[in-house]
């Protein structure tokens, strides 16, 4: 039986790329992680979800958006963290600083910035923040600047009327907030030195932006897991290897990851991208037509350099870095193709989340480049739709609770790490509560 489990077909064995693993022979052990089965109760249990909201999302730095979205003083966007009951307003002040506030008017608690649908996110540019209800206004730094019919009020203290500020810091042009009263770490400490080096990458040169935004029927971690391993690729995306031929052994060749790294709560995989299992893959006719594919446009645009943060494992034939910034941000950087993506996974319930996906290119210089980018976006979208369908099925099965423990292989080490970090945070919260209970 065991032999059967280990068997690869001849075709599979012939096409597979191999890569060295660190001591003591597996990525999982090298990172000090357990190798036993993993509980996925953290991905459907409502009680776990309630604690996770506090332990993870109310205590971590959360990604809001790019500084490119706030081009000038007075530009703003809102972010609806509906699962936490919080609406965030991110705005660039007259002093050019980016700040975040609770999006709540100090008068009667009306939501301050919204457009038509108070539940929907909005963005724009303003000279002052004006409430639609009774006209109170705030300056771009959140201070009260106008109270309609002010003489009718009693003892208003100007300083009490400022919009409630939220800790907000920027790293590499990525804007983060932290909902703790006083964050336990600065953003830079939270990010850490290795991920931090990524700020040398020229993200700011890639401002041609596509956004996709969809509700997904799975726990946020389940889709995040799908994007931190390539073990599923030959099955969910078998057509990627050999799109034009019938299914053969070739389309089932396993993808082996050249390198994983764990940095605190964050992690990265680096893969060959277009070079992975190159011997057994074949392109689509349309990829040639557009000079572009899933991996990005072939004729990469000029950029000023790639900095010293990418490809930390120094993988030869570097194709892709997928950085998973805890808790729910992925940054994918394509080697030699010079474009990047961000994925955000925002919980909406124990079994659902909102998936937001941004794609960034260097602005195209001509129609050919514009179309090559379009072809890439649409190719990525096809596969992502497959992934969202696959996790929908998985969540349906998981939430039956029929089995609590599941098996993660060495190629799935990052998924194991994510669940361990999340479960660790929730355990800490529960231990604190138990401690407080004992003392009380």
């Amino acid at each position: 039986m065991t032999i059967e489990l280990d068997k690869l077909t001849q075709d599979e064995a012939a096409g597979i790329d191999h890569h060295d693993k660190p001591q003591p022979g597996t990525w999982t052990e090298a990172f000090g992680l357990g190798t036993g089965p993993v509980s996925l109760k953290d991905s459907y249990d409502p009680a776990f979800y309630e604690d996770e909201k506090i332990a993870v999302f109310k205590r971590s730095w959360l990604y809001m958006g790019r500084v490119d979205q706030l081009a000038r003083s007075g530009t703003y966007f809102t972010k609806e963290l509906t699962f936490l009951g919080v609406s965030i307003l991110v705005i660039r002040g007259m002093d050019d600083e980016v700040r975040a506030f609770h999006n709540v008017c100090s008068h009667r608690g009306n939501k301050l910035m919204w457009d038509d649908d108070p539940r929907a996110e909005t963005h724009g540019s303003c000279r002052q923040l004006a409430c639609k209800y009774h006209g109170w206004r705030y300056d771009l730094e959140g201070q009260i600047s106008y109270v309609h019919n002010a003489p009718e009020f009693f003892d208003l203290q100007e300083e009490d009327l400022a919009l409630p500020a939220i800790s907000c810091e920027v790293w590499a042009g990525f804007i983060f907030i932290n909902l703790e009263e006083t964050p336990r770490q600065s953003l830079r400490d939270f990010i850490g030195p290795e991920v931090g080096k990524l700020e040398s990458y020229p993200f700011h040169e890639m401002t041609q932006r596509y956004v996709m935004d969809a509700p997904v029927n799975s726990n946020w971690k389940i889709l995040m897991d799908a994007f931190q391993e390539l073990y599923h690729v030959p099955y969910v995306h078998s057509k990627m290897n050999n799109p034009s031929g019938p299914p053969t052994g070739t389309d089932k060749v396993p993808f082996m990851m050249p390198a994983f790294r764990v940095f605190g709560k964050h992690r990265i995989y680096t893969s060959g991208g277009p070079h992975a299992n190159e011997a057994v893959r074949s392109p689509r006719p349309l990829d040639d037509f557009f000079g572009s594919s899933f991996y990005g446009p072939v004729d990469a645009p000029e950029i000023s350099g790639i900095g010293d943060g990418v490809n930390p494992a120094k993988v030869e034939n570097w194709g892709l870095d997928s950085w998973q910034v805890y808790p729910n941000l992925d940054i994918l950087i394509w080697g030699h193709r010079n474009w990047y993506l961000t994925y955000e996974y925002w919980p909406t319930g124990p079994n659902t989340h909102r998936f937001i996906w941004n794609i960034y290119f260097v602005p195209p210089k001509n129609a050919r480049e514009r179309l090559a980018q379009e072809q890439t976006v649409l190719s990525v979208r096809e596969f992502a739709i497959q992934d969202t369908g696959a996790v929908d099925a998985m969540q349906e099965a998981l939430k039956t609770g029929v089995r609590d423990e599941y098996h993660f292989c060495d190629q799935e080490v990052l998924a194991r790490h994510l669940h361990e970090c999340v479960q660790g945070d929730v355990d800490d919260l529960r231990a604190e509560r138990a401690g407080a209970g004992e003392q009380g």
């Binding site: 057509k239 349309l286 037509f289 996906w357 001509n366 129609a367 050919r368 514009r370 929908d392």
Partner: protein, 112 residues
Amino acid sequence: MGAGTLLPERFSDLEPFAQIWALPTANERCDRRLEATMEEMSSFYDAVLPRGDEIFDYLDTFDYPDLPDSAIHLVWLLCALSVVSFSVDVFKQPRVPDAGEGTLPITVEPAL
């Protein structure tokens, strides 16, 4: 060039496809694919694919992004080709297989 004509004269053979597929947004093009039959998409694919070099050369004669409307329609037509291509050469069906309710609406995309 008649009223309602979308494409430059020299691509008038593609005009019937432009009337259906030269839609301004990715979401409209993706929705159109879901409504289309495989025959419609194959004939569109087969008609446009061989004209690719000619279309790209034509588009290269303009300063980007200041394209005349007829050239913009050509860009949209090629964007639609990209949309239908997966159905034609990979999935052999309009929908992504096993995607269930999966959908990824595009909420921000570049102008043009």
